[in-house]
Amino acid sequence: MSTPVLDVRGLAYAYPDGHQALFGVDLHVHQGERVALLGPNGAGKTTLVLHLNGIHTAGAGSVSVSGLPVEKANLTEIRRRVGIVFQDPDDQLFMGTVRADVGFGPANLGIKGAELDRRVMRALEQVGMAEYVDRPPHHLSFGQRRRVAVATVLVMEPEILVLDEPSSNLDPASRRELADILRSLDVTVLMVTHDLPYALELCPRSVVLSGGTVVADGSTYDVLTDDALMTAHRLELPFGFDPRTATPRP
């Protein structure tokens, strides 16, 4: 197979206070895949995500993105290649207008003028938020802010889009709209989520992280129907939802 977009090998990490969060994680994600990263609270999912763009530095093991190792010297390029959408859009959207916010990343890469404008508008069109370009982000609804947060990352033309709990706090309509947007994008996706139906709907493949190691990696359907695995790692399907009888998306 070709070089994986995301290649994590034997990644271990302990926080400065001594708490060990990751114990040798191996994860490969290939071009065009949509992968769900599942696991109970405290499994190390967020810690893993913060390694993907070099916010945390690996204690042991390595991370590389399309062959480029995550190291201090490559951070600018790594952060262009890995787009992380954080859980709280209020953390992600910090500028006065949607335009300035979406433009923040590419402007840091030295893009300006008409080219910057073109990319900002394209990213906003991809998430259906182009008409809000001159609004302050804090006047948008939560669902709209989440979509703008996705645009702030898309505008960097990343090789992999990493989403932390993309469906959290969204009403069902916004949740579905975001799913439609994610499905329409031609980009590799790694999605951290507790929303198992969402994982089944969007991601053909799932990886389960528990206690700082990968305990399962396979098709989302197989993972969700493996009752022993699910129970062992505190994963539960919501009431009334059974992947065996869920209607697959046409």
Binding site: L50, N53, I55, T76, R79, R80, V82, G83, I84, F86, D88, D90, D91, Q92, F94, M95, G96, T97, G103, F104, G105, A107, N108, L109, K112, P136, P137, H138, H139, L140, S141, F142, Q144, T152, V153, M156
Partner: protein, 222 residues
């Protein structure tokens, strides 16, 4: 948190005053304040002229006067101080409504009240006719250091978020039967303020992470 409403101090409009570039309005406000403060305190006709000018500007801006007056409550602590002055100041005494008060204190109190009110009204007029973002751009055009403008823009951006958080904490307190009625309740409020500070600090860290993740290297792109 709701969507679609403007800032609480801003009154949406299209008057000539709304259209003046923000940096000119800022400079005018600054000049006006300096003149008001520099005017000797017993030149009452001069203050009448300043007030007339201000009222004229407000009329042209078509911001309802009640809208501004309601917001002058920020001045209340100064009013209290001005009212106290005649009673606490020393020097020759004089009679007002049968009460013996300090002559200097009375004059100082009146001057403080007049100058303070003029200043607050003028500032409110600026705030009512200028979007916060415009104001920041105006400061930038006046070559205020980038860092200061950025700090202020973050303040504008997160003011609603932090006040929202504060409201939610208050509602949570009150939902569990707490209302601050007397000083014995202040420790609870102080702890809430502490929690709010820590939450805001942690949000600051998360925002910084989000900025780093999008290639921030310590300088705002321009």
């Amino acid at each position: 948190m709701g969507a679609g409403h403007g800032h609480k101090l801003h009154f949406h409009g299209h008057s000539p005053i709304h259209r003046v570039p923000a940096h000119l309005k800022l400079l005018t406000l600054l000049a006006f304040m300096i003149v008001v403060v520099a005017t000797p305190r017993d030149w009452y006709p001069a203050f009448a002229v300043y007030l007339a000018v201000l009222v004229g500007v407000i009329a042209v801006s078509r911001v309802p006067p009640t809208y501004l007056l309601k917001r002058t409550v920020v001045e209340v602590p100064f009013v209290l101080f001005a009212v106290l002055l005649p009673f606490v100041a020393t020097g020759p005494q004089t009679e007002v409504l049968g009460v013996s008060v300090s002559q200097h204190g009375l004059e100082a109190g009146i001057a403080l009240l007049i100058k303070g009110t003029l200043g607050v009204l003028a500032s409110l007029t600026l705030a009512a006719t200028t979007e916060p973002n415009e104001l920041l751009l105006g400061l930038e055009r006046l070559h205020l250091p980038q860092q200061l403008v950025q700090i202020m823009s973050f303040m504008v951006r997160y003011l609603d978020v932090v006040t929202g958080e504060m409201q939610r904490m208050r509602i949570a307190r009150e939902s569990r039967g707490f209302t601050a009625r007397n000083p014995r309740h202040w420790p609870v409020l102080a702890r809430s303020a502490g929690a709010l500070f820590i939450r805001s600090y942690e949000r600051g860290e998360r925002v910084h992470l989000a900025m780093l993740s999008r290639g921030y290297t310590g300088k705002m792109p321009r």
